[in-house]
């Protein structure tokens, strides 16, 4: 299996986390985004939207991180940690919270991570109005998470699954920023964050950024 991308991409990290959770061998193919390699014809043949990551498993080519993580989790269900459920109703509930991450959490957290962590890395100025608006949005989402995690140990059910894993990249960036307090001030959310960020597979993903 090959993953084309960069270690700091949140979407690529989602895929790396899944591979590490399941102890699967893969080849990381770095893409030189600074040089525009993700818009080159070669890369566009892997992902026509010119975004990272792109993934190959033999003849199968995939893009969209959340499709890739699900493919890996289903295809290698017997390896490493179990990240999905086989029971249809349990899987449906897991899907609900994967959608929640993809729509509600991502739309607030990704702009915040970009403004507060990534832009400063490149010496660019943060937009305070953008931060304020997304902070308010994220706070409302985390209120829902607090209620959910008061009755369920993990978002998708009683075990760690893709519904939790998909949050790790954006979450990890935001814990380096001033909005960390949004997470630490909510007891169930805080405990859940500590739990999932402390997983050995996630440390391996962070080690790839060094």
């Amino acid at each position: 299996m090959k993953v084309h991308g960069i270690p700091m991409s949140t979407a690529a990290m989602r895929v790396f986390a899944t591979l590490h959770e399941k102890d699967l061998d893969f080849e990381f193919v770095p893409i030189n985004m600074a040089a525009g390699e993700h818009k080159s014809p070669a890369f566009l043949s892997l992902n026509p939207f010119g975004q990272v990551p792109a993934f190959e498993d033999g003849d199968l080519k995939l893009f969209e991180s959340r499709a890739i993580t699900q493919y890996i989790s289903h295809t290698h269900a017997d390896k490493g940690n179990q990240l999905i459920y086989s029971d249809p109703k349990k899987m449906a509930i897991l899907s609900v919270w994967m959608e929640v991450e993809a729509h509600h959490f991502e739309s607030a957290s990704l702009p915040l991570a970009y403004e507060l962590v990534i832009k400063p890395m490149f010496g660019q100025a943060t937009d305070p109005a953008d931060v304020e608006a997304n902070e308010a949005k994220l706070a409302k989402v985390l209120d829902v998470y607090e209620a959910r995690l008061a009755e369920s140990k993990y978002l998708g059910g009683d075990s760690f699954t893709l519904a939790d894993l998909h949050h790790l990249p954006n979450l990890s960036y935001l814990m380096e920023s001033k909005v960390k307090k949004l997470f630490t001030s909510r007891p169930h959310v805080s405990a859940w964050c500590d739990d999932i960020l402390g997983r050995p597979a996630w440390s391996k993903v962070l080690a790839m950024r060094k």
């Binding site: 026509p48 939207f49 199968l60 995939l62 893009f63 969209e64 991180s65 959340r66 499709a67 890739i68 699900q70 493919y71 289903h74 295809t75 249809p88 109703k89 899987m91 449906a92 509930i93 899907s95 609900v96 994967m98 959608e99 929640v100 993809a102 729509h103 509600h104 989402v141 829902v144 209620a147 959910r148």
Partner: protein, 213 residues
């Protein structure tokens, strides 16, 4: 057991769910939710959908929200008895998932922003941000260029057969063509246009349109 679907027929996400239920032959009861009076933000509704959005479903004791999770559940449940909307192999399923993600992230974001500016805000007496609409329309055009290339190699997004990935686009494209005045984005791209004509001619979608009108 009849599935209860909570939400107005006029909203995109309930339409997505109804299209799927009709495709797989599941009986449903549509229970309207009055968005204009804020019914979706009241405590009773928040118990069904904690983000205060439509739709939510109730199937006996089983409750779900998020339209794309709902359609995945029912498509999987009826994969043997009805049209296979998910694919038969892991590789086919991955392709369906891939294009469902594209719909949710690359396509829907732009369509939603346009619908908000052109249709929803004016109804609330608020001004349209024309520059934003223009910006989103240009981005959407580029996304549809990718779709056109994809659909020149296969009749449907995930391959040779109609799947959830195609179905998921029905409500958004309907908005673009019938309410936002942006049908040219579809018509100007041959393969996208043929694909739209094919998928919107399906019996299940026609039934959704009948419910709407």
């Amino acid at each position: 057991m009849v599935v209860k679907v909570y939400g107005p027929i006029t909203a995109a996400c309930p339409q997505r769910v109804l299209a799927c239920l009709l495709e797989v032959g599941v009986d449903f009861e549509l229970i309207p939710v009055d968005l204009e009076s804020g019914e979706h933000k009241r405590p009773e509704f928040l118990l069904r959908q904690p983000f205060g959005q439509v739709p939510a479903i109730e199937d006996g004791d089983f409750k779900l929200f998020e339209s794309r999770a709902i359609i995945r559940y029912y498509a999987a449940k009826h994969a043997e008895s009805g049209p296979n909307l998910l694919g038969s192999t892991l590789e086919e399923q991955a392709q369906v998932d891939q294009w469902l993600e594209v719909e949710a992230h690359n396509f829907n974001e732009m369509v939603y922003a346009i619908v908000l500016q052109l249709l929803i805000l004016p109804r609330m007496g608020q001004p349209t941000d024309k520059a934003l609409v223009q910006n989103c329309t240009e981005k959407l055009a580029k996304v549809l260029d990718v779709y056109d290339r994809r659909l020149s190699t296969s009749p449907f997004l995930a391959g040779e057969w109609f799947s959830l990935a195609d179905l998921s686009h029905l409500p958004g494209i309907r908005y673009l063509t019938e309410e936002a005045g942006l049908g040219n984005l579809i018509r100007e791209r041959n393969h996208v246009n043929s694909w739209w004509i094919t998928i919107s001619s399906r019996l299940a979608w026609k039934k959704v349109m009948q419910l709407l009108n």
